[in-house]
Symmetry: C2
Subunit: 454 residues, 2 copies
């Protein structure tokens, strides 16, 4: 009898898994249930479409449902999975347009339900002009509100990656934009000293930036949001409110089915992406990942992890063997002309994980100082006391700066000490780096700091 794989969710993780399984096991029947009309799109690209840097929404779609169907995948859009029965090996599927439900059996199940934007239980939070930016439909709705003739003032609640990207996009289209963040500097996963650069860049764009202020309420008139009130009582008028308050794993379906959820709030999986429940796999934003530096389990919603995890799940579902070895918290973004990247642990994370460490930061240039187009770059590193293991790094700078974080990520992955990083054979030529790459100079400073700290 033909075995059947059911995939819940048709974006990065789900479709990567389905495609891999298809390639490896032609005998497997594969059905994908996706709530929206879209598959395999770049959620990370939404802000650039909002900002008109990407002209067509379709450009964000790597592969449409029709293309997947042509590859032998039974993709059913407009179909939301509303229940899982792991004992009976079936899911309950609701047709989004008719509301009708039906049961679909499976031999293997992959949960790839992604994440949900945080939407704190505040007055006014459900007004129609308060938008999350998580799935493509959210982007469509936000664009529609921005395109209303009276929309002039945009308030972004939360200064994380997505919040800032949307803020810049809206500003570039001429809106009056304010970002409100509860932390002291935006993008709280960076240390404050790096965050100050981000804050300056945001303000330099003419975007209002309010820090150290939690959101207290969304003010409404006739059900529509008209402003955001902060904890100190200030009111920031708004024609549209964008929620950039982070995301959480979308696990209610899994939890209701008795599939274990970890302390960090994601579905528990082993290295092959299998949950503790027989026949049930999970991948993408909805799962917990092992953090190789802190040794803890974390939830990090990022397309690159979703793709890798989906691939691993798909190889295993297809009869192969693959493992996902964990994450180290690498991330990068662009704020106007500034690039910021991070990997490993921030100072706060290193404290929380119980490490004794030193830090070093250097200011340098992306190219030889005398070479045209040399841009500023600041590299900060954290090194463990004692052996000097590299624990984390953050970079801020102009064009050509942030992607250097990958070198430090690869060094952290391999548990290198900063004294070892110093001598790495990195590429050098005047158009690409000073003779001592800034990454190496930072490692030198950190090694000296480790030595001093004893």
């Amino acid at each position: 009898m033909t075995e059947r794989l059911v995939v819940v969710g048709g974006d990065a993780a789900g479709m990567s898994a389905a495609a891999q399984a298809r390639r490896r096991r032609s005998d497997l029947e594969i059905a994908v249930f996706e709530r929206s009309q879209y598959t395999s799109y770049s959620a990370c690209g939404i802000p650039y479409w909002i900002g008109d840097e990407v002209e067509e929404m379709d450009a964000l779609i790597a592969r449409s449902p029709a293309q997947h169907r042509a590859n032998g995948l039974d993709v059913q859009t407009g179909c939301e999975v509303v229940g899982i029965d792991p004992r009976g090996r079936s899911v309950q599927v609701r047709d989004v347009s008719t509301g009708a439900t039906r049961h679909e059996g499976y031999d293997h199940l992959l949960i790839a339900t992604g994440s949900l934007p945080n939407r704190p239980d505040l007055p006014g939070i459900n007004a129609p002009n308060v938008h999350g930016v998580q799935v493509l439909d959210d982007g469509v709705a936000l664009r529609a509100t921005l395109d209303l003739p009276d929309t002039r003032r945009v308030v972004v609640a939360g200064g994380g990656y997505i919040g800032l990207e949307i803020a810049e996009a809206a500003k570039s289209r001429g809106f009056d934009v304010t970002v409100i963040d509860r932390s002291h500097t935006p993008i709280g996963v960076f240390d404050d000293d790096i965050g100050e650069y981000i804050a300056a860049a945001i303000r330099g764009l003419g975007i209002g930036l309010v820090v150290d202020q939690p959101i207290a309420a969304i003010e409404t008139v006739d059900g529509r949001a008209t402003g955001v009130r902060t904890a100190d009582g200030s009111l920031y008028p708004a024609d549209v409110v964008v929620l950039g308050l982070g995301v959480r794993p979308n696990v209610s379906l899994a939890r209701d089915a008795g599939i274990p959820i970890g302390d960090a709030g994601g579905i528990v999986v082993d290295q092959r992406m299998h949950t503790p429940i027989d026949g049930v796999w999970a991948a993408g934003d909805c799962v917990e990942s092992f953090h190789r530096v802190s040794g803890r389990h974390v939830v990090i919603a990022l397309g690159t992890h979703a793709n890798k995890q989906g691939r691993v799940a798909g190889i295993n579902l297809g009869g192969g063997y693959a493992t996902f070895p964990g994450v180290i918290g690498t991330a990068v973004t662009k704020v106007c002309a500034w690039e910021v990247g991070r990997t490993g642990l921030s100072e706060r994370e290193a404290h929380q994980a119980g490490f004794g460490f030193v830090t070093a930061a250097v200011d340098a240039t992306t190219r030889a100082g005398y070479y045209p187009g040399a841009q500023p770059i600041r590299v900060k590193v954290l090194a463990e006391r004692g052996r000097g293991r590299l624990l984390g790094a953050q970079i801020v700078g102009r064009e050509g700066a942030a992607k250097r974080i990958d070198v430090l990520a690869t060094a952290i992955w391999n548990e290198m000490a900063v004294s070892e990083v110093i001598n790495l054979d990195l590429s050098y030529a005047p158009p690409f780096a000073p003779v001592w790459d800034p990454v190496l100079v930072a490692a030198r400073q950190a090694a000296a700091a480790v030595e001093r700290a004893g």
Copy 2:
């Protein structure tokens, strides 16, 4: 009694060592003898000054003799060391302007004599308008010849890094430029498939490129070069000839003093940069380095190694402890809008080192495909059969492509298998990379090739 360190050669390696030793041992007397009038300059920057991208020659000088003197280093320019007596612990120094010689004693000696451009014993090779490009004085002389009113045609003998950089510089200033190379594609340290991109880029600039042709002679009239004749008898008229035939370690001084020279032609040093001769150290282009992938000793003339080795020697001379752990052959250059980088072993080098390996190459974009400014990038990797250890990588592409070689260099340094590279937590956001970074895609393809090869 005060101990004395004598340094032979005042560029990258020599001055890095002197500065480190100075910082760590204030009681040490440090004398540096430098043949030219310059110290601590970027030889790699010469082509950009020739091409007017860097306006002032002084910009290439990181630290002048006067600045070094202010830091407590007795820098003596215009002084060439012409003999070493390791038993008597003295050097013979010749004043370049007067020709007078004297003896100078030392307790510790650092040889940092750099490299010499290859100048094969061909008719006409010593004509005054045949220029090497190795030290700053060479650059000064080349500029002077280019500035002569009748100079129109430039022939570059040898299409290595320096040769191509000079060719592009001369072309950008309006000269008629031809490059003649004995290999099938320029920059022979790249595999031919990557070299084809470089060849196309060169020709795209309007530079003539002659391949598979060794130089047979420099034609002269009244002692001045008028053209370059190749092995097939063709004549390429020239008003100036630039030698880009590679460099060799400048070791005659060391050899004459009985200091051991290795099979690759460089001074033999241990990991602390000490030669087998008591009290004698060496660093920079004149020494052999351990290649961590091939396991052999190699000579690689590159400012970044010279700086690192000088630092290591200086720490040890200053009473500290440091080692130089070797090289893996990382290099990068820019040809017009094309960037090329390499690390580890090329196919030929891997064969020579006795490895069984597979290759994989992918064509991708530097940013998400839909993001403005996404540029083409080709990543090629070599992986060892069996475990799939990453042995080498080459990248060619447009802006933002080549510096990614550093990620692969760090992976090679840590002896990662391509199957491990696949899951590296590299940074992702649409302005910086596709959701699968091209480096990871190449690793995926290579891992599949390793699996197929068994």
